[in-house]
């Protein structure tokens, strides 16, 4: 009995020290990690609207849970960052889609895609990008045959962004 208590006590001490070390490391790095996140988004935002002033929109309502971030790009339009569930599961495709104030889709870029190489990653192909950019906001977008799961997920994400855009920001 005494031995068992000692074992539990020893493990508890080790775990407590480990917890302390983790908290310390977290405090040291958390600011930089968050800054990296915003900086990473900025680089992708610049691809769509070079040189624009980006303003994150806080506290948006999204029932689908797909929208990660929304940025206002000056008076040129809005950029949505989404993570959709492609072939490799939850959030496997991250992309940005931009709606211009002229009512057209101003940009679409895939940030990361962990779906199958050569199949699912066609959602980042030039032909798919070109089939989206320039369309009217809300127009239907064709999926890619041979990459149905991944491209449907992307189209579903764009639809969610359109729905949010038309209801709140347009």
């Amino acid at each position: 009995m005494k031995r068992a208590l000692y074992l539990a006590f020893f493990l508890a001490i080790v775990s407590a020290l480990a917890g302390g070390a983790l908290t310390l490391a977290n405090d040291l790095t958390i600011d930089r990690i968050n800054a990296n996140k915003v900086a990473a988004d900025k680089a992708n935002l610049e691809l769509i609207y070079p040189g624009a002033e980006f303003l994150p929109i806080e506290g948006f309502d999204d029932e689908t849970g797909l929208i990660q971030n929304i940025y206002q790009a000056g008076d040129a339009g809005y950029v949505y960052k989404l993570a959709v569930n492609g072939f490799s599961g939850s959030g496997s495709i991250e992309f940005m889609v931009a709606f211009g104030t002229d009512g057209k889709i101003a940009g679409y870029t895939v940030i990361s895609c962990s779906d199958t190489k050569g199949i699912g990653d066609k959602v980042a192909s030039d032909s798919f990008v070109n089939s989206i950019v320039g369309k009217d906001v809300g127009a239907s977008i064709d999926t890619i045959s041979g990459s149905t799961v991944s491209s449907s997920a992307v189209v579903g994400g764009i639809d969610a962004a359109v729905a949010h855009y038309e209801a709140n920001l347009k």
Binding site: L7, F10, L11, A18, A21, A25, I33
Partner: protein
């Protein structure tokens, strides 16, 4: 000639944790697609191995035998999580390309294996030396695997500084149409791994045969 101990370079091959002991293969197969990953992974494994060996060795007299494995796991998991946070903060691109394999270092058999086999029985100095040999062995393994895979899959090699992404060197030899994409996929990892393991085994066999021959000769001379 006396039956001398293998020198440092030889022991990297003869006692290579990956190709001879077959430990830690999961991360090796997973991330050995480029030299950048190889550099990041070998540094990470070395740092975690070094600190876990030091801490385990320091605690070896007070760690109760019954719960030594959970204690080691807590220590290793903490070290890996701390390392992961720092990689996320200071080398984001490395974090993106290594992904889940960073966390998987927690269950890397080399680290737990060395904690159990060496650090829990030896003093700090021996444990540090052991971490250096094993860490270097891991680096040899992942660099050789990555170099072959990247060369065949991309037609050339490149290495960049993980902290600021500055290119250290980059060259392309094979024209793009001769690059074999297969080698960037898991299949390529297994093929390359098998061939390299065979080469290491062949060297080890040759070395042991030579040792045996030398021992026999010494006996006859007597």
């Amino acid at each position: 000639m006396e039956n001398k101990k293998p020198n440092f370079l030889q022991s990297l091959i003869l006692e290579n944790p990956v190709f001879v002991l077959y430990l830690g293969i999961c991360s090796i197969l997973g991330v050995s697609t480029s030299l950048d990953n190889a550099l990041g992974m070998s540094l990470l494994v070395f740092v975690v191995l070094l600190f876990s060996n030091i801490i385990v060795s320091l605690l070896r007299k007070i760690t109760p035998n019954e719960i030594r494995i959970p204690v080691y796991i807590v220590i290793i998991a903490t070290l890996v999580s701390v390392a992961e946070m720092f990689i996320k903060a200071y080398a984001t691109s490395l974090y993106t390309s290594m992904g889940a394999f960073i966390s998987l270092v927690v269950v890397n058999c080399i680290i737990l294996g060395r904690a159990e086999a060496c650090a829990s029985k030896n003093n700090v100095l021996t444990s540090i030396k052991d971490a250096c040999v094993m860490g270097a062995g891991y680096a040899v393994a992942i660099f050789s695997l990555s170099a072959i895979r990247q060369f065949l899959a991309e037609g050339g090699l490149s290495l960049s500084n993980p902290l600021n992404l500055a290119t250290i060197f980059k060259f392309t030899v094979l024209p793009e149409e001769f690059a074999i994409g297969l080698f960037s996929k898991p299949v390529g990892a297994f093929i390359t791994f098998g061939i390299l393991a065979a080469v290491f085994a062949a060297y080890k066999q040759g070395y042991e045969a030579k040792q045996a021959a030398a021992a026999k000769k010494a006996k006859e001379a007597k």
